[in-house]
Symmetry: C2
Subunit: 608 residues, 2 copies
């Protein structure tokens, strides 16, 4: 590398440090020291290796840069300033109310793919972006800046396993090994060999360098770009707070503005106005998309018994035939969730993620960055494994679709470890989420199709056992809607159910009718958003609601109903799972949990 270039890179790095210090100083908080350790790494990346069209963040050929160590946001924003896309004034709005420059990066900024800040997530999401690049035959590279502390997260090793096994050579992890975590030294300190052995064992190309030497950084980034058939990890030994004596390589300097920022800026050579010209992508590239040919959803005759999970698989396969942008992922249970139906018809768009639910969800998030429409499925119970990833997908405003099978005690003999009993509560709390829970096969097929164009995180819950088809094929079910299945002006109460309990509610209503107690029945297949108008109508006319759900009593359908009618003050009885189930047949489980037809009848009688 010529001296001229070295001098330029030194100036750029110094400016990135200065601006990181200034932004945090102005905010009175933030992570300048974690930014300073990685400044040289990012300076060389931006000046020499990144290919990105800042005038067109949507250019399909753009590289992707993910700050897995999201707390180094001052560095990222300083890079944007050096690239000329934010002003110095905006830089100094860091962490202020209303500013796009939040404490941790989010896609409110057009150059940020996904929100980070929960450690260990950027690399698994990067795996998903790299998978998309391979699928759409684009030459872009995915660069992920990781901290060393976050390598303790299991999700990093799910990513290492998937990327290593799949040979994702378009993925590079750059690890800023600055030795210091939040509260003290990391487990391995500056022992980059410890990390190299681990990544190497998972099939990665590993490079250990001095992360403050531009020549070594340049070589490593070139080497990563030239490596075939394997992802690369660059393990860069750095010093936290590099360049400022007050904080350099010192404990206790994490996550706070410097005490004397003025002196620090001086020590770094003062403010500069260095610009970085990031290479534009070398080629114009159009993403490959599969072709589609007209939607033909599966249809089931009324009265037939079909599991909603079966209908999900068939509907997804049909959707895949109709639309070239749909992809499916599964957590090594595709024969149970029935994603296998899609996998058999569209093998090139089916991704086996094995038993690694965090990477399963992260891959979906990564693929939607590139405009794919991912559906990711596993048992509803095991989606809890990915809760933090789903939460962050909400913060990322990511458009992903999750399907959880084997919901509720209705699975029967397998017992509580396999039962999704907390999933509705978990999914309802996700920002901007949609939560659907169909009761029959035709409804499932219709909702799976509806999900394709939903924004945000959407979730559909399926049932293991067969349930009777009650809706005609082709009926439309809108998100936020419901179905009034039984209603007479003389209704003394209204039963609100979804999924398996719809069938219990219908049976209970029949028995009650025979005893001279007419009750209404609502199929609340859209748990979020919920059909407030219909619920308010029911609450107003009968004044008595019974909710019944195969889910824990907290946070599910019953709470959604109460929330919708809370300001009216109807009487509500919630039937839901309150005890810990064991093994039993599905019908025994429903009876033991007091959510079957008999329990509903008892509840109605008690309420009246």
């Amino acid at each position: 590398m010529p001296d001229r270039d070295l001098q330029y890179l030194a100036e750029l790095s110094a400016q990135l440090r200065v601006d990181s210090v200034r932004a945090a100083a102005e905010a009175g908080s933030g992570h300048p020291t974690s930014s300073m350790s990685a400044a040289d790494l990012m300076a060389v990346l931006f000046a020499c290796h990144l290919h990105y069209d800042f005038d067109n963040p949507g250019n399909p050929a753009n590289d992707h840069l993910i700050f897995s160590k999201g707390h180094a946001s001052p560095l990222l924003y300083s890079l944007y300033k050096a690239a000329g896309v934010i002003s110095d004034e905006e830089l100094l709005s860091f962490r202020r109310r209303g500013s796009r420059l939040e404490g941790h990066p989010t896609p409110r900024l057009p150059w940020v793919d996904v929100a980070t800040g929960s450690l260990g997530q950027g690399l698994p999401v990067g795996v998903g972006v790299a998978m998309a690049g391979r699928l759409e035959r684009l030459p872009y590279r995915v660069w992920v800046l990781c901290g060393d502390s976050e390598l303790a997260e299991g999700s990093i090793w799910e990513a290492a396993e998937h990327a290593g096994s799949e040979g994702l050579a378009n993925l590079t992890a750059i690890v800023d090994v600055n030795r210091l975590g939040q509260r003290g030294p990391t487990r391995h300190g500056w022992d980059t060999g410890a990390y190299a052995r681990r990544f190497g064992a998972f099939g990665w190309h590993t490079i250990e360098i001095d992360g403050h030497d531009p020549g070594q950084i340049d070589f490593a980034l070139s080497d990563a770009r030239n490596t075939r058939r394997r992802p690369t990890v660059i393990l860069a030994k750095t010093r936290k707070g590099e360049g400022v004596l007050e904080v350099e390589n010192r404990e206790g300097a994490h996550g706070k503005a410097l005490k004397d920022p003025g002196k620090a800026v001086q020590e770094l050579g003062g403010p500069r106005s260095v610009r970085v010209e990031v290479h534009r992508p070398e080629v114009d590239a159009a993403p490959f998309r599969f072709s589609g040919n007209g939607m033909k959803l599966p249809s089931y005759p009324v009265g037939e018994r079909v599991a909603t999970r079966t209908a999900y698989g068939a509907a997804l396969a049909a959707l895949g035939a109709a639309r070239g942008d749909v992809v499916a992922l599964d957590g090594e249970v595709a024969d149970s969730t029935k994603t296998e139906t899609f996998g058999k018809e569209h093998p090139e768009r089916f991704f086996e993620m094995y038993i690694a639910e965090q990477q399963l969800v992260a891959a979906a998030v990564g693929m939607q960055v590139r405009g794919w429409k991912p559906y990711a499925a596993t048992f509803a119970a095991f989606l809890t494994r990915a809760h933090d990833f789903i939460r962050m997908a909400g913060v990322s405003r990511a458009d992903i679709r999750l399907v959880g099978s084997h919901a509720g005690v209705a699975i029967g003999e397998d017992g509580p470890s396999q039962m999704g009993l907390e999933d509705l509560a978990m999914m309802r709390t996700v920002h901007g989420s949609t939560v659907l829970y169909p009761c029959d096969a035709n409804q499932t097929a219709a909702l799976i199709a509806e999900m394709a164009d939903l924004e945000g995180v959407s979730y559909l819950r399926t049932t293991r056992g067969d349930t009777p088809v009650i809706y005609q094929p082709g009926e439309r079910f809108t998100v936020g809607g419901s179905r009034v299945l039984q209603h007479t002006p003389g209704d003394r109460a209204t039963i609100v159910a979804a999924g398996v309990t719809v069938h219990e509610a219908l049976a209970a209503a029949d028995d009650l009718q025979a005893e001279g107690v007419p009750v209404g029945v609502i199929d609340l297949y859209s748990i979020k958003p919920v059909d407030t108008a219909v619920l308010v109508e029911a609450a107003t006319t009968t004044g008595n609601l019974i909710t019944v759900e195969d889910h824990r009593v907290e946070g599910g359908l019953g709470d959604a109903v109460m929330d919708a009618v809370s300001e009216l003050g109807p009487r509500v009885v919630k039937l839901a799972v309150t005890d810990l189930p064991g093994s039993a047949t599905p019908q025994e489980q429903l009876a033991d949990a007091r959510i079957d037809r008999h329990a509903i009848i008892d509840a109605v009688k008690r309420l009246l």
Copy 2:
């Protein structure tokens, strides 16, 4: 190994296979083939290496055996039958309603430490049991039977990192590498070297063997027992369904009873009545416990401003001084959660788990198996990372205490990735859980002490910023209680709050009083169980409730209140976080989320 012994082991293994086939056949479901692959491994372990006093499962010197592949429960129950602790009749009750022999093992059986069935959890929990053994200076060993599929879970590698780095030589993982997952071949098939490289890189002693050769198994188990300073992993190449042609090493034979169990039993040589005499522990050992010397909780003068996280740290340190059985764990954020106060005073009982929240919770679960009282802390937001472990801790009836700091939008500038906004919903759904959310330092200290003897999973939520002390030092706060902070007979509404919003509610009530609108204020510090009596009283007298919480609108305090009063039908207005926050100061965040004093006043006026 003498021929006589080999003959005996062959008979025992055959019986374990026969009984696994019979139990699944009788149930009509279950996992016989996953049991048959590991039968030789477990036969040799039980006959030659395990030290366990079946007459006294509480013997502190007992080894611990955890079936991380919990679906191999037919094998585990067949071992119990061979050991003489369950009858053949009970074996055949497998998966029936009311039977202790559930689809996946749970501690309803006295020899089972923890529930398994969600893969990738047994090894991290085993790490916790091994940590306890080292702490209490007991010679027991921890044996964990893993499947090969579950090695894709990141939690396995969190465990590998912790055990390898800590040199937990008392821990042995036995991996049943049967090549076949649920829906097809695993990623690495029979390439035990792939797994050996990975575990080796994490510092484990690795042994690769033929898992059907008793001599090799015996050697490997001996080698594991004799290995110092490193945990051992035995990578055993096996065949799924070994011994029965119909299913042996065949795809599509996972998780179902055999089609022709009679023929299979014949093929395995027919039923036998082999007994296994498991060695009792060689020594009588008493667990080491630290001494305690009288409780002196920290106390704070009313009016002082103290963060509840600070009070948590000080109270936990005081509790540690008073009780020798309290241990603390943290996820590399002890300076933020304030667990560091305990760590400084009781370094030998403080465990740094680094940024690995699944292993953090699993270690707590493992340590409580041996009677320790673990408190595990991280940011409330990051506990979502361990959701599935917390869920399974509930199924395990484990007594663990979790503390989540940095709750809510009140953290301020750091932004949504760091805000615990879903934790109350998540924790409320856990079976048998307790959920606490104190508003001042003295209340926090009291509740931290209360938690020590609670059964099940308990959770306490702390706040980052300082809040005024409103309770006298030494006041008692019972689980399931509340405090009526303001109440007059003329109250027109009642505000129900907890944590930071208590202070907003008190300010709002003052302002409303000045305007001639008296309202009551309840501090609902116990979110689960909830003080139904007080809430019903408030609902009955004022008929108008306003709930206000720094949490998403779904599944938190508001839903807990509505659940308690649902059958009475009061009008309830819920104030909670509904939008996605960005960066802002704490007070700006409360205002923007519409949960500050002004929003409360508006809500009261709107309701009246």
